[in-house]
Amino acid sequence: CEVYAAPRMATGMQEKQYTPSLLSFFIYNPSFGPREGEEEKKILFYHPCDVEKNEKIRNVGLCEAIVQFTRTFCPTKPAKSLHTQKNRQFFFEPEDNFWIVMVVRNPMIEKPNKDGKPPTIEYQEEEILDTVYGAVLRQCYSMYKLFNGTFGRAMEAGGVELLTQKLEKFFYRYLQTLHLQSCDLLDVFGGISFFPLDKMTYLKIQSFVNRVEESLSLVKYTAFLYNDQLIWSGLEQDDMRILYKYLTTSLFPRHSEPELAGRDSPLRPEVAGNLLHYGRFLTGPANLKDPEAKFRFPKIFVNKEDSYEELHLIVYKAMSAAACFMISASVELTREFCEQLDSLVGPQLTLLASDICEQFNINRRISGPDKEPQFKFIYFNHMNLAEKSTIHMRKTASVSLTSVHPDLMKILGDINCDFARVDEDEEIIVKAMTDYWVVGKKSDQRELYVILNQKNANLIEVNEEVKRLCATQFNNIFFLD
């Protein structure tokens, strides 16, 4: 069963180019069916589901064998991926004996042949990067864990049966949102975009968070975002990283429509009392006034020392400001609580959102009009996971659009791989096709990738340009004063 992705672009008259796509995705545990004839028991999840049973067993068996085989060379680091002409397989063992495998079909070019012969297919097996798809695979697991806890937890609670149910339920939908063709360096970083803000407004937000946590003592953690960018996280970094991913690629895009709706639209939030505010729940009840409203919120799992903690996730938004409140899952959330939260947070958040917007505009005006810079960059700081990209357009639910050619993105990924190999600071300058220069800098915990488009520039000029850029752009990534 082969599924072909839609052609991305046509080069030449009849040539068709196909982007990388997901061939299969499965999860197994070898210890569940160690004896012959019981192999099927090992398989906990298999996509696509309509694959014939024996083929499933065969594929799982192959992966098992590869991993076993490579273990003999290095017991602690078994194979992470397998390159073949047509596809690439990625292996990941997130928990003892639980393996997740993702098979990606290599991008290819279909060249038509004369005389009615079937077209020749040319696989571009070197075009995709292990780092990118390895990261995508790990993200799949992190996302599952965020909403379900570990595999081990499901096993404890309800055995294999519960685990397979949970996997089915989660991955059935999640895999549809994987857009392998647009995965790139940003997936490797899995960073967080921070909203640039002046100190005073930041402190106001602090004050808001502290007040809410004080008066609604059920709230254990709070995260604050503006324009899909993070400003404050009460969660630990790793938990925030994956929650941020969920919020910005899944929850927010799904709810962006009402924001765009007109004032009189029924989607607009209701007027509470005499005070108009724009606060509304993105998770939980859509309309508080609805007598049928359900007060159920998604539950998430975060790390707590050696174990995990189960929390209700309340996401509440007013205009472009979103606050996530996390409450211990052992507490049952009631209508009263939600009303209290709404009346407390709604007006304050509305005010804060317009404050931030105003302050942001002032700062932007001071720092000069929005002129399109003649360079594009990606910045990432390993220490705080801060990322910033002028290459990527605004993310939507479906795709993250880049404004540069995939070849250039590939170069960025390659430089990143080089950086990962050594611990020292270094700098790599690449002259790409056409008039592009790609510069990668790694210093301390930070990585910066710049794409310059300058005709007839030489190495010295490019180097100077990047130096100038660093001095002007990156001394204050977070601070807009």
Binding site: M200, Y202, Q206, S207, N210, E213, S215, N384, F478
Partner: protein, 645 residues
């Protein structure tokens, strides 16, 4: 019940011989002197002032009953009035305690208008005096050496009665038949200027017209540096005023007098007024309580400039008079003093005299009891910030609101911080303006520049740190969430008023975060520069230059002997491979804690092992002395040996 008396009589009253059939007592508001005149002066006049310098005693001939007696400013000339037609001046040498003054006397009776009777006189200077007669006002200069006087200025006007405010040298005359048109005059070194007259609105206009405004119901005083005429408006059955009120008329140096404030007394009866610490105090005799009003305190639910009492009515703190006699025995019990006695006389601004008991008291406001009487902390702060001795009370209120930790106290904390920093900022700005003016040279506008006075209401960061925040962060049983929230709230407030935050506040935040392993929070604060603008953080340490905020934090922690905290921090940011082991070992050794030293030493040995495959320190790390120290403490065998391959 805790002490709720927020008014008290001073501890050191002026004592004088009580009034009797042979002893007349006079009070001069200008010099605040009490005159006890025995037998018309023949057996002695004892003058007691606020301090001993102003106290004198002398004798003078008994030439009839004394109606009024006052020294000029500086006790230079004594004026004595015995009849309604004449005043006698005496000059005396005050070096001696008892003087015979009759020899220096001369009598002055050359008044402008014949048949006018003198209502009284006021000294406005050491040798300038104003006579108020029923027909006008006359301003004279007195030359005691020549035994003569010179008329400086006079004005004819029918006068019912007068009031004098020595502080501002303003005399207020009651004119017209009803007495409610008041004419003020201001005096200043030889000049008399007529101010614009104004009319007091009477509750009822009597028919036929008769004197309806009593001098007892009018008082003059300065409040917040401005002169006010206070009118005690009694309730009247006919007019629509169910209870009495005090109406304040603002009397500016220039321009017209305006009705400015109304103080609601919400009761009726006999009242008396004082001004203490810019508060209007209204004593109510029948209930034996007093009310206080602050005209700067805005009342949100009242019409403009109508004020309700700041606090519920309370009586003055009970006062005990020690039994006095020729021999004072220390153990003698004190007798309670009858407060609000009908024999009390009240003078402006803050004087209460009991002539029958022979005491003059200054009335004082006690701030600590107000704290529990005023629930609204924002209003309480507004009130306290305008008082003279407020600092310790304000700081105790701050501690108190942090102590409670009740739900919803953060907004209150924020309000209080904002109010404190508002005052703090105003002072800093005034100070800066002054400094700039001084730097630019004294040539221009030098007369106008005065160094701003730092009042007790200026509560700076070091006050907050020393008296409130430092203890608060140390206290057991307070959640770290609340501690951090309070510290951030204070930093927010300082930023809001653009006040540079002192490094020790940042250190307090960092310390609290590190103690609770909240490194990610710390990172976020650094990221948004909330904690990083603190150059003194760097300067506080011996190192000449530090590169990043992380290094600064390590330095702070090490200087606070939080060696493990520093290690944990640097490990959390992944910098432990590159830090100088020597710095940490030095700090650990300094603490004198052997186990700590052992732990830190081991940590770095393990690091060395991991990085270089050998636990030994490189010569470049300069840790030789620490190795020696380690061997001394724990022996050679405790050292980690290189792993044998």
């Amino acid at each position: 019940m805790s002490d709720e008396h927020y008014l008290e009589l001073c501890d050191n009253p002026v004592q004088f011989e009580n009034a009797s059939s042979v002893n007349n007592v006079f009070f001069d508001e200008a010099n605040k002197q009490v005159f006890a005149v025995r037998s018309g002066g023949a057996t002695g006049v004892v003058v007691k002032g606020p301090d001993d310098k102003n106290s004198v005693a002398f004798r003078m001939d008994d030439k009839g009953e004394v109606k009024c007696i006052k020294f000029s400013i500086g006790n230079k000339i004594l004026a004595v009035q015995r009849t309604s037609k004449a005043v006698m001046f005496c000059q005396m040498n005050l070096q001696c305690v008892v003087l015979e003054v009759s020899c220096l006397c001369f009598v002055f009776r050359s008044l402008q208008t014949k048949n006018a009777s003198v209502l009284g006189f006021c000294w406005t200077n050491w040798n300038e005096i104003v006579f108020i007669t029923d027909q006008g006002i006359e301003f004279y200069q007195v030359f005691p050496d020549k035994r003569s006087v010179k008329l400086l200025k006079s004005q004819s006007i029918n006068v019912n009665w007068y009031q004098y405010c020595p502080e501002t040298a303003v005399i207020l005359l009651s004119t017209t038949v009803q007495g409610n048109v008041l004419q003020p005059f201001a005096f200043r070194s030889g000049t008399m200027s007529k101010m614009s007259k104004f009319e007091i609105e009477l509750p009822v206009v009597p028919k036929p017209a008769k004197l309806s405004l009593s001098e007892r119901d009018i008082a003059m005083a300065t409040i917040y540096g401005q002169l006010y005429v206070m009118y005690l408006k009694h309730h009247s059955r006919t007019a629509n005023s169910p209870s009495a009120e005090v109406v304040l008329y603002h009397l500016p140096r220039e321009g017209a007098c305006k009705k400015s404030h109304v103080l609601k007394l919400n009761t009726t009866g006999k009242f008396a007024l004082n001004i203490v610490d810019n508060l209007v105090v209204v004593h109510h005799q029948s209930s034996q309580t007093s009310l206080i009003f602050d005209i700067r305190l805005r009342e949100p639910d009242c019409a403009v400039n109508t004020h309700q009492p700041v606090l519920p009515a309370r009586s003055i703190h009970p006062y005990r008079i020690p039994l006095s006699g020729p021999t004072v025995v220390p153990s003698q019990p004190a007798v309670p003093c009858q407060l609000y006695s009908s024999s009390w006389s009240v003078f402006q601004p803050d004087i209460i005299i009991s002539a029958s008991e022979g005491y003059l008291w200054y009335l004082q406001v006690k701030l600590p009891p107000t704290v529990n009487l005023l629930q609204d902390k924002g209003k309480l702060m507004d009130f306290l910030l305008r008082r003279r001795d407020c600092k310790m009370v304000i700081l105790s209120v701050c501690s108190q609101i942090l102590e409670g930790g009740e739900k919803g106290s953060l907004p209150v904390v924020a309000t209080v911080f904002d109010k404190l920093n508002q005052v703090y900022k105003e002072y800093l700005e005034a100070e800066q303006t002054y400094t700039l003016a001084m730097e630019s040279g004294p040539s221009r506008g030098s007369a106008a520049q005065k160094r701003p006075v730092r009042t007790q209401a200026v509560i700076d960061q070091s006050d907050m740190y020393t008296h409130v925040l430092s203890a608060f962060t140390e206290r057991k049983g307070v959640s770290h969430k609340f501690i951090i929230a309070v510290l951030m709230e204070y930093i927010r407030s300082l930023n809001q008023f653009q006040i540079t935050v002192q490094h020790y506040l940042y250190e307090l935040v960092i310390k609290t975060l590190v103690q609770h392993n909240l490194f990610y929070m710390l990172h976020q604060f650094l990221q948004y520069h909330v904690l990083s603008d603190s150059k003194p953080l760097v300067r506080a340490t011996p190192q000449p230059r530090l590169s990043t905020a992380n290094d600064e934090i390590v330095e702070v922690l090490l200087s606070k002997q939080q060696v493990l905290g520093a290690l944990r921090f640097i490990r959390s940011v992944g910098g432990h491979d590159n830090v100088s082991a020597r710095k940490f070992l030095d700090a650990a050794q300094q603490t004198g804690d052997q186990m700590l030293f052992y732990t830190v030493f081991r940590f770095f040995q393990q690091r060395n092992q991991r990085l270089r495959g050998n636990p030994a320190f490189n010569p470049g790390e300069h840790c030789e002395e620490h190795v020696v120290h380690f061997k001394q403490l724990f022996g050679e065998q405790a050292l980690m040996k290189p792993a044998t391959v």
